[in-house]
């Protein structure tokens, strides 16, 4: 059974000033799947990911041509960017918990979108922390600063914080690259759990990780998507020669 298309990019070009970072990218991301982006450093993976929640809007001199649809809606037309970002959550490479309590971190998003009062916030905080598998470690220190947690715990708090605004899609930009293997394992497990409810797009430099957890994989080189398909196929028999070289570690 094929899942519905959740994100669609159509002949997407992106420029940072004069530099073209994405070249004619066409892509469909299916609902409730994990889609992984791989490719050498600087090939535009993060850039593409940040297109989906329009984070590139924040970058001066960044121009986009082409179309992106989220749930069938063109995100550049008649879209409140803040509502788009509520629907499309993001987790960053470096855990970026705010320097406030764990509770306030998780409640930040809901408060932003108008949820008020502990009575309404408490269940959201608990639920989000549980979904992000950090509840057991955080429940006794909800009112303590989130900066006191380990890097891996912080990253799961960041995931919980993203979940607290009830997104449909989670974008993750190398979420485990700053973590040790055990924390990485926990986040990978979490991703598999989360994909039952959420659509996940993940950027990773870790080929095993992509192969382990993703359903689809896209390979990027110099701003172009050279290969896209089922992860099993991409990793066992890539069609693109450069992709094969990259996967087998014989690149460049």
């Amino acid at each position: 059974m094929e899942n519905e298309i959740c994100i669609k990019a159509e002949s997407l070009d992106l420029f940072y000033g004069d530099f073209q970072a994405l070249k004619n990218v066409n892509l469909e991301v299916a609902e409730r799947e994990i889609t992984a982006f791989i490719g050498p450093s600087g090939c535009g993976k993060s850039t593409l990911l940040r297109c989906f929640n329009r984070m590139n809007d924040l970058i001066e001199g960044c121009k986009i041509a082409g179309k992106i649809f989220v749930d069938g809606r063109d995100i550049h037309e008649n879209t409140d960017v803040n509502l788009l970002r509520k629907e499309v959550g993001m987790v960053f490479q470096k855990p970026n918990v705010f320097p406030m309590s764990i509770y306030d971190n998780i409640a930040f998003g809901p408060r932003t979108h108008g949820v008020k009062g502990r009575k309404n916030l408490d269940p959201i905080v608990v639920e989000s922390l549980k979904r992000a598998n950090i509840w057991d470690e955080a429940k006794d220190r909800l009112n303590k600063s989130a900066l006191g947690l380990s890097g891996g715990q912080q990253q799961r708090v960041c995931i919980a914080r993203a979940l607290a605004v009830q997104p449909k899609i989670l974008l993750m930009d190398e979420p485990t690259s700053a973590l040790d293997p055990i924390s990485t394992g926990k986040i990978e497990e979490l991703c598999e759990e989360l994909k039952k409810q959420y659509t996940i797009v993940i950027v990773t430099h870790n080929m095993q990780q992509a192969a382990r957890i993703s359903d689809k994989t896209g390979f990027f080189l110099l701003g172009e998507m050279l290969e896209f398909g089922d992860s099993s196929q991409v990793f066992s028999s890539p069609k693109n020669e450069k992709c094969e070289k990259y996967i087998t570690g014989r690149f460049g």
Partner: protein
């Protein structure tokens, strides 16, 4: 023990020569820099001790808070004048300074206009304070026809401290890591919410420090006020549109006829400004630690 023996053991001739030549400039630099640091500390201690010895014996509650007459001047007019100047100067400069800094760090980007604004701020900071005083004199005293007023002095000094406030607040805003801003935006928070809930709280320590230091600068300013507020010792200002004097001006005013009162005033001024400086560092640190 073994290490010690090694040190005293004679080095081979060549090695000793080499290391000696290498060490010499370092020792020299160390001595010179130590001497210079010593001069700085000695100057500070010298000034403080000198002022204290001269001033403290003449300090009294009566001198600070007593009734002010022509024959028996006290600090009351100066204290009230300084309070007005701080309220007006800081009251005008702090909100404008903070908002300008927010504009520059959060909204402006890197365009041409911003570069011009930055250049203007840098230039403003470099202008000598007596020139600000002249400007205030020409504009408020003469052009507006207000005469000498605390209001004119306060407004002039607010322009003078504006660039420093803008720069230091902007610096503390820029020191807030951009990953916090991104994290907030990624949750769907607007720019305004991001600034108020994430950026400003994280920059609070630096902003409070900047504010306190700005107040200190108003209290210690004199050139601006010589030309704008009238240095009126005989009479208590009733409103900002009255002329008046300030603590710093009192040091100057008393110097020729009552040198001992001048020194006593200097003690009060010193205590206030040093106290504010200590407060600034203390508060800044406290807020920083609180957030971790």
């Amino acid at each position: 023990m073994a290490v010690r023996q090694d040190k005293t053991a004679p080095l081979p001739q060549k090695a000793r020569k080499l290391s000696g030549r290498h060490r010499a400039p370092y020792t020299f630099l160390k001595i010179i820099s130590f001497v210079c640091a010593g001069i700085a500390v000695a100057a500070l201690i010298g000034i403080i001790v000198f002022i204290l010895i001269r001033g403290v014996p003449h300090l009294s509650l009566d001198f600070i808070f007593g009734e002010n007459t022509a024959a028996h001047p006290t600090l009351v007019p100066g204290l009230i004048g300084t309070a007005y100047l701080v309220m007006i100067g800081a009251g005008v400069a702090i909100p404008i300074g903070i908002l300008t800094a927010i504009y520059l760090s959060e909204y402006a980007g890197k365009g041409k206009v911003v570069r011009i604004i930055r250049l203007a701020i840098e230039t403003l900071a470099a202008i000598p304070s007596i020139v600000y005083g002249l400007f205030g004199y020409i504009v408020f005293v003469l052009l507006f026809g207000w005469g000498y007023t605390l209001l004119g002095g306060g407004l002039t000094v607010s322009i003078m401290i504006l660039p420093t406030i803008i720069r230091s607040v902007e610096e503390s805003l820029l020191s807030v890591p951009s990953i916090y801003r991104e994290g907030s935006h990624a949750l769907g928070a607007s720019k305004v919410r991001t600034i108020f809930s994430v950026v400003l709280p994280n920059a609070a320590g630096g902003i409070v420090t900047a504010v306190i230091l700005a107040i200190g600068r108003i209290i210690s300013e004199s050139a601006v006020f010589i030309l704008t507020i009238g240095m009126l010792q005989n009479g208590i200002p009733r409103s900002p549109t009255d002329p008046g004097t300030s603590l710093a001006l009192n040091v100057y005013y008393f110097a020729s006829d009552w040198p001992e009162l001048s020194a006593a005033t200097a003690v009060v001024l010193l205590v206030l400004v040093v106290g504010l400086n200590l407060l600034a560092t203390g508060v800044g640190k406290l807020i920083k630690r609180d957030r971790q």
